[in-house]
Amino acid sequence: MSVKLPIYLDNAATTRTDPRVVEAMLPAFNDVYGNPGSRNHRYGWESEDLVDTARRQVASLIGADRKEVIFTSGSTESNNLAIKGAASMYAKKPAGQTGRGHIITAAHEHKAVLDPCKRLTKEGFDVTILDPPADGVITAAMIKDAMREDTILVTIMWANNEIGTINEVPEIGALCHERGVIFHTDATQWVGKMPTNVSTDNVDLLSLSAHKMYGPMGVGALYVRRRRPRVRLTAMIEGGGQERGMRSGTLNVPGIVGLGKACEICAHEMDSENERLHKLRVKLEQGITGKLDHVQINGHADKRLPHLTNISYGFVEGESMMMAIKEIAVSSGSACTSASLEPSYVLKSLGIGDDLAHSSLRMSLGRWTTEAEIDYVIDKVVVAVKKLRELSPLYDMHNEGIDLSKVQWAAH
């Protein structure tokens, strides 16, 4: 079976918008173009109906009430609103003072969580950034150990974007509720892929993005719990008072309709899709690890998303690897196309050495990934690694029994 090149295995970066989603969005451009905030005419009412349907679709996917869904421009905004908005609302002291409250997060969170947390440290809050264990899974016990009298917020992602590991979200949420601490989770990589119920999973604030689940870019949502506890947030974007005053600005109706439709499709197809993608991922991992020595799959063996894998290839360098498999669109653990030569901070936080972090590839499968593509990818990767190891002085030295960690390298 032939495959169309390049093969797209970067679904954790963004997904193709499902044609059914595009179809659903078109009326919001062509026919129903009113402002949902216009209360005096049919155009406005019809737009509001579209938004309302989408709100139910999003709520339904995550087990929430529709009134708990705040539409945003995507997860980055949702994370900013959740973290900065909750910190400001639940601060123990007014702005300008120190000791305003304690926040817990982890070192392998997305920058859209870490950077708002870092800003809060400059604004009088104390932030604990947990070092993840080697398997990447943050447990409730780790959070419990980090908790203090003045902890006001815990923000831990549901599934990691680079390695796909799954944190103990329901357990962390239960702990937070016991202690009266607000719990936010960045669920960008999780929602739409895995079953989610904010009630039984004990989540207070949850960020999600449409373009990670076959919806359009530029739209997402923040779930904000309304009961037990009722969570309040200080708005970041002020103006017309839309979205219960938590996020002003005219609603992105076509985008919201797309998000809603994407959620509806995911809800219907999640189970069968997971099973299919998990089989393909296992095939991919076994195909690669079975044919190459010195490769390692990063993150916990089982507590991982079904469609994502991050593999380090010893003795080969990331960018040359990307060049060797240029027919496959993947993400590199090394940002070495920039001048900084910094390997992934996520992999480093797991204690993976710089040399292996430099040579790591994230492959994320999606709705249109086929078995023929996976077969092609296995062959390409194996050939590429073998070729680059032919070139690699490190592989030679290793095979001659030289301990690379003991060599006096001339760092530059």
Partner: protein, 142 residues
């Protein structure tokens, strides 16, 4: 990163890949000079070897490289240029010539510097093994 044709060509068809023996063997061979520069945690390591004839000319050169496409191309090109040159001519190769020949983008200039370092290290190793005085080979520290 979109690379120029010459980098791609060297990357896809690297010249003179290899070694004149195991690490132990090349250490002992007095007609071979070895330069090993870079570090794994920086993302590039080059190993450049020269084989020198009785007249003091570089009759063969080989390389291995752990690094990005530019690093591979820079070291591949270095072996091509070294073959047939005297030691002094080898030392005259400058990283800027490599940058120019391969049209290296600015963020990849360090790859050419590394290749120049590797050339100097290989020649210095050969001279040391053979008791040849090195005049002024340490000005390129960085």
């Amino acid at each position: 990163m979109a690379y120029g044709d010459k980098i791609i060509d060297h990357y896809e068809h690297p010249r003179n890949v290899g070694s004149f023996g195991t690490q132990k063997e090349i250490k002992e061979r007095s007609d071979v000079g070895v330069g090993l520069v870079g570090a794994p945690e920086c993302g590039d390591v080059m190993q450049l070897q020269i084989k020198v004839d009785d007249q003091g000319n570089i009759e063969d050169a080989k390389f291995k490289c752990f690094g990005c496409g530019s690093a591979i191309a820079s070291s591949s090109l270095a072996t091509e240029w070294l073959k047939g040159k005297s030691l002094d001519e080898g030392l005259a190769i400058k990283n800027t010539q490599i940058v120019e020949e391969l049209s290296l983008p600015p963020v990849k200039i360090h790859c050419s510097v590394l290749a120049e370092d590797a050339i100097r290290a290989a020649i210095a190793d050969y001279k040391e093994k053979n008791g040849i005085e090195t005049a002024d080979e340490h000005h390129h520290a960085h």
